[in-house]
């Protein structure tokens, strides 16, 4: 008993959790500020939550050491650090982009930034989870916050519907995940990832374990909205308020993907052949559905939903390879995907006429004459999403496909490239509408924070080729830390 007390309370242990502690205590303090000073405190709460996220991000940048904490339930390695930084940047930008929307749409709810903070905290815990219980708890903390965020505009029928749909399907998927986790625990007697790997290595794989693995992967596929568990995505993206959609697209998928990578590489490395088939299937299905279903969309938020399904499929190509270079590809893909998505949503949030927000693709027509700079940046982002060189999106796809070919998954790589060609159609259609169609009414001028986010994202995507080497170095270290 004495020993457990010491290991729980040692300072070295807690020092790895500093960003998580900041976020959790900060979220509670901000909640109190909001409750006691009413709706007028929303701008302050928003500002302070951005400061908290930036501080957590800076701490992760500075802190070099890593290791296990909380009796091995929490791990901070280069992979966790990098994924946390990407997630935190996504969350920060999502809150920053909401400032103008909140002011214009009378969306004065201080709970919005607080719930984004708790969701981000859940994501960080998911990324750092090193056993099945901490994984599930982090996932639930994140999901529960997201359900509330989806329906936070409670007077709108569509927002409420989005929240309800997300909640019901999400609860079902959590149940499947939990069932899978309990089967895995039952057949190995272990909850820690490393211990599970130890328990199954060298033994005959049991049917129960494979069953558990399938259920676990079904739960993960829902969280990253991969086909066949993608049904909620278009409705939730369309129904939720646009800043919430931006947040949904940027941060949670990165965290869920990081968790998926850690589980299959860390715990199920001995049964790689079994999970590889599943990942290959959901990857192909997501890429194909993402490419074809997006063609008929007229609402840009729905289009982005199908686009995100497709992009998750491409990222899974790297994971299907199951090698270190494959994981490296996944990390690069997620980083670039986050940058492109945030920039695109900055444009969608800027689609505002005098009488309110618009979200049809046809509303963008002739943007090149009414607002040439926005049109230029959106064009860069669309080319990048389509994967056209020398923009960042091309390199993202390049690394995952190379990893797949190195592992001999030729069919997967070929289908991926074909899906990418089909997908290019609808991105190019937006560009055509912006540059060659009759100009529609002008949008109101873009808010300053949207300009900053769009500019940063556009420049990152356009000039990625110049610092690609630097990024690859960092991601290679992160990927290597999973294969020790």
């Amino acid at each position: 008993m004495q020993e457990t007390m010491q290991s729980v309370m040692s300072v070295q242990n807690l020092s790895l959790l500093v960003p998580e502690l900041w976020l959790s205590i900060g979220a509670m303090v901000l909640l109190m500020i909001g409750v006691f000073s009413g709706p007028k405190s929303t701008p302050h709460v928003t500002g302070l939550s951005i400061a908290l996220l930036v501080a957590a991000c800076a701490w992760l940048f500075m802190k070099e050491e890593g290791g296990l904490a909380m009796n091995g339930s929490f791990i901070l390695d280069p992979f966790a650090r990098l994924m946390k930084i990407i997630t935190l940047v996504g969350s920060t930008l999502a809150i920053a982009m909401s400032v103008n929307y909140i002011r214009r749409e009378n969306f004065e709810q201080f709970e919005f930034p607080v719930l984004v903070l708790t969701a981000t905290l859940g994501m960080m815990l998911m990324i750092s989870a090193n056993d099945l219980i901490s994984l599930y708890l982090g996932l639930e903390l994140q999901s529960l916050s997201l359900y509330v965020l989806a329906s936070i505009n409670r007077d709108s029928v569509r927002s409420t519907e989005a929240g309800l749909k997300y909640f019901v399907l999400g609860a079902l998927s959590s149940g499947m995940l939990l069932y899978g986790a309990s089967l895995i625990y039952g057949f190995t007697g272990q909850i820690g990832f490393a211990e599970i790997a130890q328990a199954i290595v060298g033994t005959d794989r049991s049917l129960g374990l494979i069953f558990g693995l399938v259920f676990l992967l079904a739960g993960f596929a829902f969280k990253i909205s991969a086909v066949p568990f993608h049904m909620w995505t278009p409705d939730v993206y369309e129904g939720a308020p646009t800043p919430v959609t931006a947040f949904f697209a940027a941060a949670p998928k990165i965290a869920a993907m990081a968790m998926l990578v850690r589980v299959v590489i860390g715990a199920f490395e001995p049964v790689t052949l079994d999970w590889q088939q599943i990942i290959v299937f959901i990857s192909i299905a997501s890429m194909v559905l993402g490419a074809f279903a997006a063609i008929g969309q007229s609402n840009i938020k729905r289009l982005m939903a199908y686009s995100s399904i497709g992009h998750m499929g491409f990222a899974l190509v790297g994971l299907a390879a199951g090698t270190q270079s494959g994981v490296n590809g996944v990390i690069i893909y997620l980083l670039i995907y986050m940058a492109m998505t945030v920039g695109t949503f900055a444009c969608i949030l800027a689609m505002r006429r005098k009488d309110g927000m618009v979200e049809e693709i046809s509303d963008l027509s002739g943007l090149a004459t009414t607002n040439p700079i926005m049109a230029l940046f959106l064009t860069i982002l669309m080319f990048s999403l389509a994967g056209i060189p020398p923009l960042a999106g091309f390199f993202a796809k390049y690394f995952v496909f190379v990893a797949a070919i190195e592992s001999g998954l030729y069919a997967l790589a070929i289908i991926g490239v074909l899906a990418s060609v089909v997908g290019a159609f609808y991105y190019l259609r937006i560009i055509k509408i912006m540059w060659f169609d009759e100009p529609a009414d002008e949008f109101v001028p873009m808010a300053i924070e949207l300009k900053v986010v769009l500019g940063a994202s556009g420049l990152f995507v356009a000039f990625y080729v110049f610092f690609a080497g630097l990024v690859s170095e960092v991601t290679a270290t992160a990927a290597a830390s999973l294969f020790l």
């Binding site: 709970e111 708790t118 901490s134 903390l141 509330v148 272990q190």
Partner: protein, 204 residues
């Protein structure tokens, strides 16, 4: 020993009888009350079997929260239970058959129970000897030390659930008159009473 047997049969008899009453009583409020009785008796059975923690949990969670919630729902919602109950006898044989099949399956599962030898050898947190510590103590020992991280995370999840419920449902209405003690105490005869002269033979 004989006393234990008497109590066992008492509790299990009442539990089965009240479970039957849950589905057969006419008034839905009575059904919920019988459900609570069934829960309490099941909790007593748990405690007799040496699982005090489960027994107390059953009372706190199921009787304290779930059953009271049921009671609220039953009283608040306008459900025509007589309508729901129509054709009850008609479905009885099918229901009984399903019940029997489930019973047979449960017996088969319990009868064929084997714990995997690899799993017992390597459990993450082995069960201590029940002769030394009671099971509440055993759970408490690991819950607040080794698993304190999970305990705190569960607390955070419950906080988010509470915040979510308030965000989505609480509405501050403008014209609702709430009790404000300060205002009530600060009233004096001058503001509270108005004296009017009424002429005789006329109303106000």
């Amino acid at each position: 020993m004989i006393l234990t047997a008497i109590f066992f049969y008492l509790f299990s008899g009442i539990a089965i009888a009240s479970a039957f009453m849950v589905i057969s009583s006419r008034n839905p409020v009575h059904s919920v009350l019988f459900l609570i009785l069934a829960f309490v008796n099941a909790a007593c059975l748990f405690i007799m079997a040496g699982a005090e923690f489960l027994g107390l949990l059953l009372i706190v969670v199921y009787v304290g929260a779930v059953a009271v919630l049921f009671l609220f729902v039953v009283m608040m919602l306008d459900v025509d239970f007589a309508e729901l109950r129509r054709g009850y006898l008609q479905y009885m044989p099918v229901g009984a058959l399903v019940g029997l099949i489930v019973l047979a399956e449960l017996l088969m599962v319990v009868g064929g129970w084997v714990t995997s030898p690899t799993a017992t050898g390597s459990v993450a947190s082995p069960i201590p000897d029940m002769a030394d510590v009671s099971n509440i103590e055993a759970i408490g020992n690991v819950l607040y030390t080794r698993y304190v991280y999970f305990f705190q995370l569960a607390g955070l999840i419950l906080l988010v659930a509470m915040v979510g419920a308030i965000v989505l449902t609480l509405r501050h209405k403008e014209n609702v008159r709430r009790q404000d003690i300060n205002v009530q105490v600060a009233r004096d005869p001058k503001t509270a009473i108005e004296v009017r002269k009424v002429e005789s033979g006329k109303g106000i």
